[in-house]
């Protein structure tokens, strides 16, 4: 379909020149939709981060008290649980 054959919808126009896009201050940004689209990546990121932070903390404490394996495992589980709680707070109550 060439340019002259393409039917434009009423609200559609040529793209705005750079830096002068149309603005509509009454229309809020779709921050909520942005979060929903990103939800999968955010959830995975929370799970990984939780386990890394608290697993790492557990590893450090385990080194200190000479029980690395057990405390690291506890830290990983605590991090996982906190990450799941965070996911519930963020997405589970909408």
């Amino acid at each position: 379909m060439t340019g002259k054959d393409r039917v434009r919808s009423p609200g559609e126009g040529s793209p705005s020149p750079p830096g002068r896009g149309p603005t509509n201050r009454k229309q809020p940004l779709s921050g909520g939709r942005a979060g929903d689209q990103n939800a999968g990546w955010v959830i995975v990121s929370y799970l990984v981060t939780g386990m890394v932070i608290y697993g790492g903390l557990g590893w450090l404490i385990g080194h200190w008290i000479d029980a690395v394996t057990a405390v690291t495992l506890i830290g990983l589980l605590v991090g996982l649980a906190l990450a799941v709680a965070l996911v519930i707070f963020r997405y589970g109550r909408s």
Binding site: P22, L29, S30, A34, S45, L86
Partner: protein
């Protein structure tokens, strides 16, 4: 090709000829400098990145230097590209108020896509994004952009406070806050770069394996059948890589738009 593979090809290394399979390795991603200035070495990936940047600039310059009300030719293609980014990436994530970021997102998408496409262009045959420095550089730009916007619009403290979901009990907040802060500021941008790099690196390595296998298995014996099968895999994987190249550019851009949207308006 690496030094080992060049030697293997030159010496007629095939199956049953007594030599091992010249598998692609990290050497395939190392290049001798085209020229050096002191300690700075200008290599093929840098040249490809510069060429891709030039192509993006030249294409959109040709498309929009003299825009017509009824687009034709290059302007038509350019408008399709811009409107794809606007309607599929920008508007769903940021709405109409995010239109000022359209030039940034359009540039980002097409730059990444063209660099990815270099993997299948003859003579180039190397995606610049499979060298992690290039994704990292783009991630650095994205990170600075959304951090600056977030702190400017929400305030330096408000930006970090708004990252934490609302409704979290006060007693668990100190435990959850580190996860949110590290995740939203470090991990998500880290994975943004690694995702692009790993996909391009793996795809390039995979196609290299089957290309090398096609040559290695080529013989007048039963190996010819396997060589033909390997060649078919090269064709199929190249087609698959074309999809992945576009998809990775799209994912990078849409996640960038999402991070910018989160900086402009906190999501609770």
């Amino acid at each position: 090709m690496s030094e080992a593979q060049v030697t293997a090809v030159a010496s007629g290394c095939h199956l049953f000829s007594g030599c091992g399979f010249p598998a692609p390795s990290l050497e395939n991603f190392q290049f001798k400098p085209i020229f050096s200035i002191g300690g700075f070495h200008f290599t093929k990936p840098m040249l490809l990145a510069l060429i891709c940047a030039g192509i993006v600039v030249a294409f959109f310059w040709a498309a929009f230097a003299r825009p017509k009300l009824v687009p034709r030719g290059v302007q038509n293609v350019g408008e399709m590209g811009v409107m794809f980014i606007r309607d599929q990436i920008l508007r769903p994530t940021m709405g109409k108020r995010g239109d000022r970021f359209l030039p940034f997102l359009v540039s980002l998408f097409f730059f990444i896509w063209f660099m990815n496409l270099m993997e299948v262009i003859p003579l180039a045959q190397f995606p610049a994004t499979s060298r992690i420095a290039f994704p990292w550089s783009l991630v650095a730009i994205v990170w600075v952009t959304f951090m600056y916007l977030g702190m400017r619009i929400q305030g330096p403290v408000g930006f970090f406070v708004n990252l934490v979901p609302s409704g979290v009990p006060w007693w668990i907040l100190p435990l959850l806050a580190p996860i949110v802060l590290v995740s939203d500021i470090v991990v998500q941008t880290f994975t943004l770069g690694v995702r692009l790099f790993a996909n391009m690196f793996a795809g390039s390595l995979l196609i290299g394996v089957f290309i090398a296998a096609t040559w290695y298995l080529a013989s007048l014996s039963v190996g010819a059948i396997f060589a033909a099968g390997s060649f078919v895999m090269v064709i199929l994987l190249t087609a698959f890589e074309l999809l992945i190249q576009f998809l990775q550019a799209f994912i990078f851009t849409i996640l960038t738009a999402t991070y910018i949207a989160r900086s402009l308006e906190p999501s609770h």
